[in-house]
């Protein structure tokens, strides 16, 4: 037997999670047993991780290598119009590694976090997880936009299933469908983009050159879907609600991987996006606005997961803005580092929630002494996110800012800087509120989580520290160049970040500044509470769409169908009337015969 080729490894990385999902889904005893299903799922994730590590190692040796293997999938007029397969190159393999590393960490973490679930629910949870990893890999390794769309929709499905994991809880059920509808709304754009792309080029290929306005139209449609999936303003509304899912799910799907799929998609379609400067401009502005907007809201959140959710929106805004500035490298680098520290933060939050049984920051406090490991790793993640020099977020955020600066996008640049300050502030706030200060009642009985939950935290913390130092290797994989240097953006952003942390310390750590001195932020808090946008969507849905549907339904039953019924009634009634002609009286018939004969005679004699 010959040595496995990259293609084989790619198949292993793609299909093992699918096999695990199928086993857990189809073999009911396995699923109901719980723990064995979890082990199957984790084994598949590990295998996938191993395969992607092997692949990436090979890729680093030969960065320009691109393995593409496809088979025909759909015929038209005797030839193949769509293919499925694998594309293994620098872009897909680095994303594949991120997905599998974070997924494996999250799955191991879930062993402890979800341990209280009944076995069948536990098995179901892992089945969905495996399905998610498969879908994400399907998207990442896609050789064309069509397969990527399939993966894109399937991750949306698994997101729906996992947010709705506690399906008996009405708020979770609501959040799940909301997430699906909002992202599906965006996905209409991607579907339309697929149709247009096929009409223009006769294929769904990644590298396309289009003439005229089509590049702008198609990229704008793709971006519309990205806005939905990557939770950008104004379609970000589903992400905070998505926190109804179990916390490890938030870490994997709604922080590290699925929501970043939008960024990945744009990176993949970069050859098309560079032909559409108009779309790029829109991306820069929307990304920067989201980064600032979500950071502001994050400051006033009371729920630790919601802080992190808005922070995710904000950081995704950075990436989108970088893409708008035309820097694939910056966006992708930030995606990578963000995946590590945001997954770490979510898992850390999960560890805390597991200990105090509450999401509310007010129920925490003083956990530093009770949960040393969680605290240390969480703080590493928070510092990385805040952009403290030396940690991963510092390098990538710096690169994003520099790219935006270079492109001369002044206002977006300023927005991102302001967001950097706020980011440091709200993360400092969370750290001081959760881990320091006086413990609340719930926090008094907290204790450190078990080893299955500790180990992933450590792994991700290492990533959050180290990932920043691999900038040049990443750059090589994407075919870009990177060397670290501290420019204007870097200096300003870092000082702002440190200032934000300092302010947070003054307010929430030393408490030398009362929280009430931020009363001027209250209107923002109000705005966040009122969720204006959410209400507008709810209004559109309930008062416009459902009313319209009700109207159409009424119209159908009473007018369209009513006409049919009237015709039927008219036939019956007409028959009833005509029946009267048959009186059964011989005299009547005689009259009729006589009158008829006379009429015929007149008719015959008429000149």
């Amino acid at each position: 037997m010959s040595a496995p080729t990259p293609f084989h490894w790619g198949l292993i990385a793609l299909l093992f999670p699918l096999v695990a999902a199928a086993l857990i889904g189809l073999v009911a005893p396995l699923r109901r047993a719980g723990m064995p299903a979890a082990l199957v799922s984790i084994a598949a994730a590990l295998t996938s991780l191993l395969a992607s590590a092997v692949l990436l190692a090979g890729q680093i040796d030969d960065p320009s290598r691109a393995v593409v293997e496809v088979v025909g999938w759909l015929p038209v007029a005797g030839s193949t119009m769509a293919e499925v397969g694998l594309r293994l190159d620098g872009i897909s393999l680095s994303m594949l590694l991120i997905v599998t590393v974070v997924a494996t960490c999250v799955q191991v973490f879930s062993l402890g976090y979800m341990a209280d679930e009944p076995p069948s629910a536990f098995g179901r949870y892992y089945g969905f997880h495996s399905l998610f990893i498969f879908s994400m890999n399907l998207l990442v390794l896609a050789p064309n936009l069509l397969q990527a769309f399939a993966g894109w929709e399937l991750v949306g499905l698994t997101s729906y299933l996992l947010i709705g994991f506690y399906y008996r809880k009405p708020s979770a059920a609501k959040a799940a469908v909301k997430a699906f509808w909002v992202t599906k709304f965006g996905d209409m754009g991607l579907l339309l983009a697929l149709v247009f792309l096929f009409a223009q080029t006769g294929a769904f290929s990644w590298d396309v050159t289009l003439s005229g306005g089509w590049a702008v139209v198609i990229t704008a449609l793709v971006f519309f879907a990205v806005v939905g999936k990557s939770a950008q303003f104004p379609l970000h509304v589903w992400l905070p609600n998505a926190m109804e899912g179990p916390t490890p799910v938030s870490a994997l799907l709604h922080a590290a991987t699925m929501v970043a799929a939008g960024v990945f998609l744009v990176v993949r379609l970069d050859p098309l996006f560079v032909q559409a400067p108009e779309t790029q401009m829109a991306m820069a502005w929307i990304g920067a606005f989201t980064a600032l907007f979500a950071a502001v809201i994050a400051v006033v959140q009371k729920d630790i997961k919601r802080v992190l959710a808005y922070s995710t929106c904000s950081q995704l805004g950075y990436m989108i803005c970088a893409l708008g500035a035309g820097s694939v490298m910056a966006a992708y680098f930030h995606l990578t580092t963000h995946a590590f520290f945001k997954a770490l933060l979510f898992l850390g939050a999960g560890s805390v929630i597991h200990a105090v049984h509450s999401n509310n920051l007010a129920d925490m406090g003083g956990l530093w002494r009770k949960m040393r490991l969680t605290a240390v790793t969480f703080i590493i993640g928070a510092l990385a996110l805040a952009g403290v020099p030396g940690l991963a977020g510092f390098f990538s955020k710096d690169l994003v800012l520099e790219a935006v600066h270079e492109r001369g996008l002044w206002l977006p640049w300023l927005a991102l800087l302001a967001a950097a300050f706020l980011t440091a502030f709200y993360m400092g706030r969370v750290v001081f509120l959760a881990f320091f200060g006086t413990p609340s009642k719930a926090a008094e009985h907290a204790h450190e989580s078990g080893p299955t939950m500790a180990l992933p935290l450590v792994v991700l913390a290492v990533g959050s520290v180290g990932a920043g130092y691999f900038g040049s290797s990443f750059a090589e994989l994407y075919g870009a160049s990177y060397s670290f240097h501290m420019g204007l953006s870097g200096i300003v952003a870092t000082s702002l970040g440190l200032a934000g942390l300092g302010l947070a310390w003054l307010v929430y750590g030393r408490r030398s500044l009362p929280e009430s001195s931020f009363a001027f932020l209250a209107p923002i808090g109000k705005l966040a509470e009122s969720a204006l946008l959410d209400r507008m969507y709810t209004f559109m849905f309930r008062r416009v769409l459902l009313v319209l549907a009700g109207l159409i339904g009424w119209l159908d039953r009473y007018v369209v169908d009513g006409l049919i019924n009237v015709i039927g009634w008219a036939a019956i009634e007409g028959g009833r009337r005509l029946r009267r002609v048959q009186t059964g009286n011989v005299q009547d018939y005689t009259y009729a015969v006589v009158v008829g004969t006379i009429l015929f005679v007149i008719w015959g004699l008429w000149p």
Binding site: P75, F149, R168, L191, N565
Partner: protein
């Protein structure tokens, strides 16, 4: 020597005849004979697919038995790629349908006899090459519905409130007799219109033969094509649920027993669309091209209007019925595009929607049988007591909203691509919007029925699917996924003949 196609058509019919000889009381025997008839139909349809020579294409396995030579009526059978895929659909649906109606108690023998006769008619339509016999089979497929709904249907409609309650009572709207009568009358009016069109073609072509090949090759005068096509479109279209002649569908499908809804929405509505394409568009091409903008426009109305109507319903069966109206709109849209992708998509959507809606109605039947209600607001939390049903319902829902990995996605994608290539590209946009609206009403239904706290104490001991019901669900669910992941299995057959048909169609038309 009797050919495979006539055996296929005769098998369900023979099973029905055998059933006549079996006593009513031997329930198991009745069921087994029906299952055998259905199984043979399924096996033979698979065999036809295997025997069909993909390289050769065209019509294959021809058979000819003269019936009325004086009028040129013969029993001509042959099958093409479209026929192969639709035969497979019929085989799968009837097999699952018999399994799903395993527990019919009331006069089960008569029920199965009618069901099998109906299926024989359906198979006949898909392989028939003589227009007269085509029409005959078509009627055989439609008429048993009257008895099936009228006798075995359910009368429990959703009680209507509001100013029109009196009218509803007056007409017995929602009752099974009303539904059966309405469905049959509307379809018969359609058939009458259709017959005019068919006879017009027969006489215009010389009045010597009903051979569809000859009738199709005849170049009718343009004026005639322009008035014949609407007759064929509306005649067949009434069965395909074309707006505004779709209103029999919600009442009919809601009142019909499980297997009948499965067959009717799953296969019979496809007869209508198949007829529009095979007889309408292919035989009077100039008419088809002339009227295509209207056909497609109405199809788009079907898609959006059906989806919105479905959204406003609270009765589970009405939701599924309106969703059929919406999805048949996608079939008709594909047909109206007159492009290879559109036609492939239309035929594949017939297949995909057939399986999907069959699965839906099988599940609704299971839920209704246990809970004795179809009113969604009274449900909730059913996933706890019937997890299997919840899983399959979600699967069917995903196919209907076009989730990749299910057959529905492939079909919709092809239709969307075709629509954009067609003469009226704007169709694509409302069609895609329709898919989004589907996501709304389907997931609302899933949430309303299966998610949330509960179930109500009254529903606490509802049983999950059991025995043969699993058979039906698994067959249909597996087909959805298999043909969604590997669409070539079916699309290869369809695509083998579509370009040729379209070539002929567009050739015959002088622009």
């Amino acid at each position: 020597m009797i050919g495979i196609l006539s055996t296929l058509v005769a098998a369900p019919f023979l099973a029905a005849v055998v059933l006549l000889l079996v006593p009513d009381r031997a329930r198991l025997l009745v069921r087994l004979i029906s299952l055998t008839g259905a199984g043979v139909a399924l096996a033979l349809s698979v065999r036809v697919a295997a025997d069909y020579d993909l390289d050769a294409g065209g019509f294959q396995m021809p058979e000819l038995y003269p019936l009325v030579p004086a009028m040129g009526i013969d029993l001509r059978l042959a099958v093409d790629g479209w026929g192969v895929s639709l035969l497979l659909l019929t085989g799968v649906i009837i097999f699952a349908g018999v399994l799903a109606s395993w527990t019919v108690k009331e006069r089960s023998k008569d029920f199965f006899i009618l069901l099998l006769v109906l299926v024989a008619g359906v198979c006949g339509v898909f392989v028939c090459q003589d227009l007269f016999v085509f029409f005959l089979f078509y009627e055989i497929a439609v008429l048993p519905m009257y008895l099936l709904i009228g006798i075995w249907g359910s009368s429990q409609g959703v009680t209507e409130a509001g100013p029109f309650r009196y009218v509803w009572k007056l007409f017995d709207i929602g009752g099974r007799e009303y539904a059966a009568m309405k469905l049959t009358l509307m379809l018969l009016v359609g058939s009458a219109v259709l017959l005019v069109g068919i006879l017009a073609m027969y006489f215009a072509a010389g009045g010597t033969t009903f051979d569809m090949e000859v009738l199709g090759a005849t170049a009718y005068p343009r004026d005639m094509q322009l008035w014949v096509f609407p007759l064929l479109w509306l005649g067949f279209g009434s069965l395909a649920g074309v707006f505004p002649f779709h209103t029999w569908s919600p009442d009919g499908h809601a009142s019909a027993p499980t297997a009948v809804s499965m067959l009717h929405a799953g296969v019979l509505m496809k007869l209508g669309a198949f007829g529009v394409m095979r007889v309408g568009m292919m035989m009077v091409p100039e008419g088809a091209v002339y009227w295509a903008p209207l056909v497609g426009g109405v199809a788009v109305v079907n898609i959006v209007y059906g989806a919105l109507s479905a959204m406003s319903q609270r009765d589970l069966k009405y939701i599924i019925a309106y969703s059929s109206v919406s999805h048949m709109g996608i079939v008709m849209l594909g047909a109206a595009t007159l492009t290879v992708n559109g036609w492939n998509g239309a035929v594949y959507q017939m297949f995909a929607h057939g399986i999907m809606t069959g699965l839906f109605f099988a599940l609704v039947g299971i839920i209704y049988e246990r809970a004795h209600t179809r009113f969604i607001p009274s449900m909730g939390g059913f996933a706890k007591v019937m997890p299997g049903v919840a899983v399959f319902f979600t699967l069917a829902g995903l196919s209907s909203l076009g989730m990749p990995g299910t057959a529905g996605f492939v079909a919709e994608l092809m239709v969307f691509l075709g629509a954009w290539e067609s003469a009226s590209p704007w169709w694509t946009i409302p069609a895609i919007l329709g898919a989004f609206l589907t996501a709304i009403y389907v997931l609302r239904a899933v949430r309303g029925i299966f998610w949330g706290p509960g179930p109500d104490p009254a529903f606490e001991d509802l049983a999950d699917a059991r025995g043969t019901e699993w058979g039906a669900l698994v067959v249909l669910g597996a087909a959805l996924v298999l043909f969604g992941c590997w669409p070539g299995l079916i699309v290869d057959f369809i695509d083998r003949v579509t370009p040729g048909y379209l070539g002929v169609l567009t050739q015959g038309v002088v622009p």
